[in-house]
Symmetry: C2
Subunit: 310 residues, 2 copies
């Protein structure tokens, strides 16, 4: 198989995962989890969101989290921002890299941020400009890029229309998101091939965000990597979900993803045993079973150490 040698894992659990939890996770616990995650060798963590606390009360402690985590050398602590106000808060909190998202599906964007796609683009244009003028790196993501729980099939042209506007803004990374977990490997393969070709010769990276709602998350990761994708979102222990898919599992689990990649000889830079211990701690702190499988089954032994033959 023609697979990349190295893949960058972005753990979005402390943002995408935590925000789906019904009860408030004490700030102290959030910090404990992020600090433990920082020690695994991971390079990028999306630690919180500067969305108005009225909408996401779970992440109302964004400033405190960012002020109190132990910043590990070599780890980038990122945050989601919804608008210029969010960028201002992120700047104040010393964030170096922010993410912003628009859904390609009008219904989902409306449900998510109560704006049309055009209004969102206008809002984010201003936010991106502000971030870039402060030397902050910006990832912009197209949500529902592979289908929408509300609208169903999302035509690729709609995704590209949003992506093109983002690219015009001068962002450093484009993300394609499958929050409802509707993507399949054939579709992922086609999309990733198309966007990697489109971004060829630019400095813009392509990042993929998959959920595991129908058990297909890692198959989609495989399809993306076979086309050359090297930046993958995961969430600690498979936290997260989709408000429109009740009962669905969440993001692809960091432990499952790193286990699979390392077993295939793809370097993530992450110490799998430390990651699994961090996932176990998270499960213990939250006091409930989370979807990740590798914390239950244990890692593939040769994901830790390569076999001598074969």
């Amino acid at each position: 198989m023609n697979l990349p040698k190295k893949v960058t894992i972005v753990d979005v659990g402390p943002r995408d995962g935590f925000q789906m939890e019904p009860g408030f996770i004490p700030t102290e616990q959030k910090i404990q989890i992020i600090d433990r995650l920082s020690e695994t060798g991971i390079k990028r963590i999306e630690v919180t969101s500067f969305v108005h606390p009225k909408y996401v009360p779970q992440l109302a402690d964004a400033e405190e989290v960012l002020a109190r985590i132990k910043r590990k050398e070599g780890v980038i602590y990122e945050a989601l921002v919804p608008n210029a106000k969010g960028v201002e808060r992120a700047i104040q909190a010393g964030v170096e890299h922010v993410s912003m998202v628009i859904s390609a599906s009008e219904s989902h964007n409306k449900a998510n941020v109560n704006m049309t796609v055009a209004e969102s683009l206008k809002t984010l244009k201003e936010a991106v400009k502000l971030a870039l003028s402060h030397g902050i790196k910006v990832t912009t993501g197209v949500g529902t890029a592979f289908g929408c729980a509300l609208e169903g099939w999302v035509p690729p042209e709609k995704v590209e229309a949003v992506a093109d506007e983002f690219l015009d803004m001068g962002v450093c990374e484009l993300s394609l998101g499958d929050t409802p977990g509707l993507a399949n490997p054939a579709q992922v393969s086609e999309m990733v091939r198309y966007y990697l070709q489109k971004l060829k010769g630019t400095d813009v990276g392509l990042r993929l965000h998959f959920h595991d709602s129908r058990g297909q998350g890692l198959a989609n990761v495989l399809a993306a990597m076979l086309e050359g994708a090297t930046i993958i979102d995961t969430a600690i222990c498979g936290m997260g979900g989709c408000p429109y898919s009740p009962g669905a599992t969440g993001n692809i689990a960091s432990g499952d993803t790193v286990n699979l990649l390392e077993a295939m000889g793809i370097d993530t830079g992450i110490d799998l045993m430390k990651l699994i211990e961090c996932e176990r701690m998270t499960q213990d702190l939250l006091g409930k079973e989370l979807p990740g499988q590798t914390i239950k089954s244990g890692p593939i032994p040769w994901a830790l150490k390569k076999p001598k033959s074969g």
Copy 2:
């Protein structure tokens, strides 16, 4: 992606899934589940096992199940047999297709059937001969073909040594099994390519048996299909497990697999909604949550009906 147009799903849930259940599933319920499964359009079901009831009391009702299920035209009702005595029982019960398994790992084979691999091969040689002489089709499977929970890495030569003995016996299908859920897509890709090449020009089919212990089951299916594999074991609702991986999920779920394949335009012949209803019924009858995800999230809409564009 270069994927097969059609894939045959073999639901082994009533054998591999049921036998892992701690409490006895009433015969009436087993029949109800198998009959419902028969109505989904599936072509092959492994309905039971003729292992001595002392070892697998759950399947002590093999004869009764086979006598009382409604045999649907076009569906093959298969059974696992451990030896010639099992073949005799299968013949009496009117079974047309039997499966037999040996683990490539000595420790696992010992733990599983209390025989060395050489002893197992001798036992199965006799059993295969008896089955073939009665016009019964035989699948022989190499278990722990991708790794062993007891021994760890299993050298491919050990797998091939067993496979070669099987092929000499004149079987119609060779199966490679990953019961502990240790396989990764790169390894699957290599193995499937090798075995499809080896079997080229013969009438022997290649069948793959994956478990989802680390969330990687469908990624392995994808890898196998990319090499041309077209016969895949699944289990209703992801039942099953591995006695040596406590807490691990079981076989790849039929619903998740069919959902993914149909979404990619691969024809399984199965009515996904009927399959999901059958999985829901199974969950209700067993009175507990089973690992399958698609029964929770619902199918990808275009797994049911193709999108107009894209």
